[in-house]
């Protein structure tokens, strides 16, 4: 199967390898070497899409990444891919592709085709205007229409089955773009022995040498490219990256690239990852990214069969496709005339060149006429006819500067219009690297001006359009890049002999006139993908927009998956013309990465699922697993949340664990708490400065609770610190806050108090900790440490001692986060599980019960103990938490003091920590519930908020729900009732002291 529009011979396709593919359910044929677009055109398929807003029929405009129209959906199921451009989808056996943005039945029949009729009501800024207009119209009319119409492709709903890699590479010279310029630069740079990387987005190197007939050294362009690239492949230090799009240019010559490794294969080997995201750090960069042709902006310039002249040339020459038989080439420059010659040579019976310039060179004209091509200079295509394919061009004489039509229109039947408005250098990467652009009046384009990073632009992306000039410039740049990277270089080799037409500049024609102005009659499309017309830009100017960035956002020109590659320069030139300002003064919009879309899979790489973040496990983890604990993530730690027994839900398990700990004995793995070893002669002074309370008098062997504030006086972390020795302390932090506390302390030591003789070491993972809590804790600990005095009388609360626990050297701390008699036994990390086993064995007679973080939370909340990050959110002072006692009034300075003693911090109406008890004991308020005055919900909004719930649980000991909350002026209102605003209605709760259980503290000594 060749397709009706496939030429009998020629092209860079492999005719020995036919390929079958499916398009919108139709089975079609092509060849290896085709893109989806070239294969569709070979089969006579021009209509491939409907436009985004007006549902107009659209065809293939370009032949590469610049394509705005021909977005498709490929593949099925979890490998379906939304919105690749048909022009860059490699044709592989069995490819299944369909149109996006069309209703059932494909682009041929679209029930919403009538949207074009509504276009009068959908001008530029449509969304903004509707949002500000009638709410009813928006909700009832516009939003349903837009919801139905919006969106291009469809995302897969299943996880991606493919694997993606991240690669890192350092090189001396990175050459971006494997056309003639890139190949020449890479060849010269490689001669020096430098590590050279040559990346190109296509499967085959050669760039535009593949698209047009050119001869170098007597070889056809693709043959020369093959020869040179083969020579590069021989070099030991050269890396070739085909199918690799360099999409981002960041600081210090870091460039990111996406390599597609399997999309061009019918069957992907299972050991090859689908894509790679490359991070390439290069000493020097050579940009050889080429240029994109611009379409001319004339009335109804969007019908299927209207294409870029360069694309037409490429389809004929590279893919042996005849995209039309009655062709019109509409141009303002010499270069597009080549497309007319190629069409004619390929057998198109009627080819007409419409050139807007009043005069062209005699040679150009003579060659065309000799080839049998009709030529009309000083004319323009001012309109088109057709539906699913263009059927005619309206041709009219125009004045010399292209601003007015000069005579009546003639209708010229045609099935193809090839259009060229000149070329725009691909300055995207240069601009991302923060280089400034300069406007080239001669070539009517922006090209690189002043570079910021060590790089060079060569060839068309530098505004150098001639092939011979490009090769010379690129070879020089290759040598210079290697030299600047520190390699010995010689002068470039003699340039190849070149047979190519001379490059000549266009005569700008930004907006093609017609009998009517844009906005009446036809539509002058500027951005095909977003359906932005010249009339939209004119309207934006009339409505007061002047900045190119604002006009972009108002008209949508330059958004979308093509990022306006064919639209941006036309849009800003039309804007400049309307504003009556020079183009460089209006400037371009910002070029941002990525140059072309990058898959989320490539960005994620292998950092998925279990590999997203490290998991930290305690030495006792296996024991928790064996006990069938449910785990929760606390920072990176996996902590036992609760230990359900058969048939228990979380509520039942937690109730059992709470009761066991209050009545007998419970055991908790507390190894995850942050631990910082603080040593040095000034350690006490240091603690004095970072904690709010006094530390200088803490005796060796004693432990103290402390709160740390930021300089703003807000609570930052809390924990206990023990004095281990004269000049040594052990600080504990919250599990989640350990790293932040360490950073905070280090920052002050290094930057503010370098004179303090103090050193900090994180010892979190040096000590495993088992907390034994409850009235029977002493009995258990006595059995674990038979040789040491453990009774509270010998071992008072808030002290620590060394001991031997289960034969292991241990530090034991008398601290309690439950309110019960509690011992925290610390042993070297790798003995943690041994200690746990010994404690469990020793506790057997007392039915020792492991408890998780949920029970720990309930028990500590019953005692009114805060958890920083739960009761605090960075806006609570120690006073707000009812801990005035912990703020030293005597210390002249500590972190946070200056802020804490501002009068505003003492305001009585600040939110203060209180307890809440629902009138109905069965109620457990959701955390975050807002608290209001009684009856407030019956009054019209806004309802003033008194505060909110920070912790809330059911308490087995209280046989009731209870909560901690931050309530404005709450401490003076204990005993009063307020209301909790639940979605189901208000619930009456009573303000309570935050300590609900054992207020006298009788239980902590057993």
């Amino acid at each position: 199967m060749t397709g009706p529009d496939r030429l009998r011979d020629g092209g860079l396709i492999d005719r020995t390898k036919p390929v079958t593919f499916t398009w919108n359910g139709r089975v079609l044929g092509g060849y290896e070497g085709d893109t989806l677009a070239s294969a569709l055109l070979a089969n006579g398929v021009h209509l491939v899409a409907r436009s985004f807003k007006y549902r107009r029929p659209r065809g293939i405009l370009g032949h590469g990444t610049e394509e705005p129209n021909a977005m498709v959906q490929t593949g099925d199921g979890n490998r379906t891919e939304p919105n690749p451009k048909a022009t860059v989808v490699p044709l592989v056996e069995g490819l299944r592709a369909k149109s996006v943005n069309t209703a059932k039945g494909g682009p041929e029949s679209d029930p919403r085709a009538g949207m074009g009729m509504l276009s009068r009501f959908m001008p530029a800024g449509f969304y903004y205007k509707m949002f500000h207009g009638s709410q009813t119209m928006w909700q009832r009319v516009w939003e349903p229409i837009i919801r139905q119409a919006a969106g291009w492709g469809t995302c897969p709903t299943e996880p991606d089955p493919d694997t993606y890699d991240h690669m890192n590479l350092h090189c001396d010279v990175l050459v971006v773009g494997g056309g003639p310029a890139g190949i020449a630069a890479a060849r010269e740079a490689a001669k020096s022995g430098a590590r050279v990387v040559l990346a190109d987005e296509q499967e085959r190197f050669g760039g535009r040498l593949l698209d047009r007939p050119r001869n170098l050294d007597g070889l056809p362009g693709h043959g020369w490219a093959d020869r040179e690239v083969a020579a590069l492949a021989e070099e030991a230090e050269v890396t070739l990256l085909p199918r690799t799009t360099v999409f981002g240019y960041y600081d210090h010559n870091l460039l990111c690239a996406l390599e597609r490794r399997t999309d061009h294969l019918a069957e992907a080997p299972s050991h090859v990852t689908r894509q790679r995201l490359w991070h390439i750090r290069a000493r020097r960069v050579v940009l050889a990214t080429g240029a994109h042709e611009r379409p001319l902006v004339f009335a109804d310039n969007d019908r299927p069969g209207i294409m870029l002249a360069s694309a037409v040339a490429a389809y004929v020459h590279r893919w042996a496709v005849l995209p039309g038989r009655e062709a019109v080439v509409f141009t303002n420059n010499d270069g597009a005339w080549e497309a007319a010659h190629l069409l004619k040579k390929a057998g198109a019976p009627a080819v007409t060149i419409i050139d807007s310039r009043p005069k062209v060179s005699d040679a150009l004209k003579r060659d065309a006429e000799q080839a049998g091509i009709t030529v009309k200079t000083g004319h323009a295509v001012t309109g088109t006819r057709g539906g699913k394919r263009v059927t005619a061009a309206l041709v009219q004489p125009v004045n010399a500067d292209g601003t007015r039509v000069n005579g009546p229109a003639q209708t010229l039947a045609c099935d193809l219009i090839a259009t060229s408005g000149g070329w725009s250098p691909v300055v995207h990467l240069f601009s991302q690297s923060r280089g400034t652009l300069t406007y080239d009046d001669t070539w009517a384009c922006f090209r690189p001006g002043v570079a910021v990073q060590p790089q060079a632009s060569v060839g068309a992306c530098n505004g150098t359009f001639g092939l011979a000039e490009t090769l010379a410039e690129a070879a020089e740049a290759g040598v210079e890049a290697a030299r600047a990277a520190g390699f010995e270089t010689a002068a470039p080799a003699p340039a190849p002999s070149v047979e190519a037409p001379e490059a000549t500049p266009p005569v700008p024609l930004w907006l093609v006139p017609a009998d009517t102005a844009p906005g009446r009659g036809g539509k002058w499309f500027v951005d095909f993908q977003n359906d932005t017309t010249a009339a939209d830009i004119l309207l934006a100017v009339r409505e007061g927009f002047e900045s190119v960035e604002h006009v972009k956002r108002y008209t949508l020109a330059g958004f979308g998956t093509d990022q306006g590659k064919t639209a941006n320069i036309n849009a800003l030139a039309i804007l400049a013309g309307t504003l009556g300002r020079p183009i460089p003064e209006v400037g371009t919009t910002t070029f941002r990465a990525p140059y072309t879309p990058v898959t989320f899979g490539a960005m994620a790489g292998r950092n998925l699922g279990d590999r997203l973040e490290p998991q930290r496990l305690t030495n006792i983890h296996d024991r928790h697993v064996a006990l069938r604990a449910a785990f929760e993530d606390v920072g990176q730690w996996k902590r036992p949340w609760y230990y359900p027994k058969a048939g228990e839900d979380m509520h039942a398990a937690v109730a059992r664990e709470c009761k066991a700990t209050r009545d007998s004995v419970g055991v908790l793995d507390a190894s995850t708490l942050g631990k910082i070893d603080i040593q040095g002669p000034d350690a006490a002074e240091f603690l004095n400065r970072v904690y709010t309370n006094a530390w200088t008098k803490l005796a060796v062997g004693r432990v103290r609770y402390g709160i740390m504030c930021g300089e703003d006086g807000m609570v930052f972390d809390d924990g206990t610190t023990a004095r281990i020795d004269e000049n040594r302390y052990l600080m504990t932090t919250t599990t989640g806050g350990a790293a932040h506390v360490m950073d905070h302390l280090e920052e002050y030591l290094q930057t503010e108090w370098p004179d303090l003789r103090v050193r900090l070491t994180s010892v979190t993972e040096q000590w495993a900790t088992v907390a034994v809590a409850g009235p029977k804790a002493l009995e258990v600990v006595k059995r674990v440490c038979p040789d040491d005095a453990m009774a509270p009388a010998d071992f008072p609360f808030l002290s620590w001692k060394t001991a031997t626990a289960a034969g292991i050297p241990a530090r034991i701390f008398r601290i309690s986060f439950t309110g019960e008699l509690q011992y925290e036994i610390n042993v070297p990390w790798h003995h943690g599980a041994d200690l746990w086993d010994a404690v469990m064995e020793a506790g057997k007679d007392f039915d020792i019960t492991p408890y998780g973080t949920e029970t720990m939370h309930v028990l500590r909340a019953e005692k009114g103990f805060i958890i920083t990050g739960q009761e605090t959110d960075g806006t609570q002072t120690p006073f707000d938490l009812g801990m005035d006692w912990i703020v030293s009034k005597k210390k002249p300075d500590f972190i946070g003091r200056r802020s804490l003693f501002r009068p505003d911090m003492q305001r009585p109406d600040r939110k203060q920590l209180v307890g809440l008890k629902p009138e109905d004991p069965k109620v457990v308020l959701p955390e975050g519930t807002q608290i209001v005055e009684p009856g407030a919900l019956n009054r019209p909004p806004p309802v003033p908020m008194l505060g909110f719930v920070t912790s809330s649980y059911h308490s087995p000991a209280l046989e009731s729900g209870f909560a901690l909350a931050l309530i404005a002026g709450g401490r003076d209102r204990l005993g009063e009732t307020v209301e909790a605003a639940l979605p189901s209605g208000p619930v009456t709760v009573r303000l309570h002291d935050p300590v609900f259980y054992d207020a006298e503290g009788a239980r902590r000594d057993g």
Partner: protein, 99 residues
């Protein structure tokens, strides 16, 4: 993404570092001596120059030491790094950004 010259370890990728805001703001010797407005200044007010900016960085995934850097806020180039307690290098010794 910068390559940052750690004064202790040498050139390293930016991902290894954390940022610490404006440099050379010493914590006042005696905060109590400041009135509220002055204290607010110390806590919250920072320069935002167009040009060379002295700022603090910390080599978090390396030596974990704080140091200072001079960065040009227009070109985004880091022009020099130096240790805590050292004076910033004189402007005329810097390899100036190309703009």
């Amino acid at each position: 993404m910068h390559i940052i010259q750690c004064p202790y370890c040498g050139p390293r990728e930016e991902v290894e570092f954390t940022y610490g805001g404006q440099a050379h703001i010493a914590r006042p010797e005696n905060p109590e001596a400041l009135d509220d407005a002055q204290w607010a200044d110390v806590l919250f007010m920072r320069d935002n120059p167009k040009g060379i900016f002295a700022e603090r960085w910390m080599h978090a995934a390396g030596c974990r030491r704080w140091f200072n850097a001079l960065r040009h806020t227009v070109s985004h180039q880091i022009l020099a790094t130096y240790r805590m307690g050292e004076a910033p290098p004189a402007p005329d010794t810097l390899e100036e950004a190309s703009r």
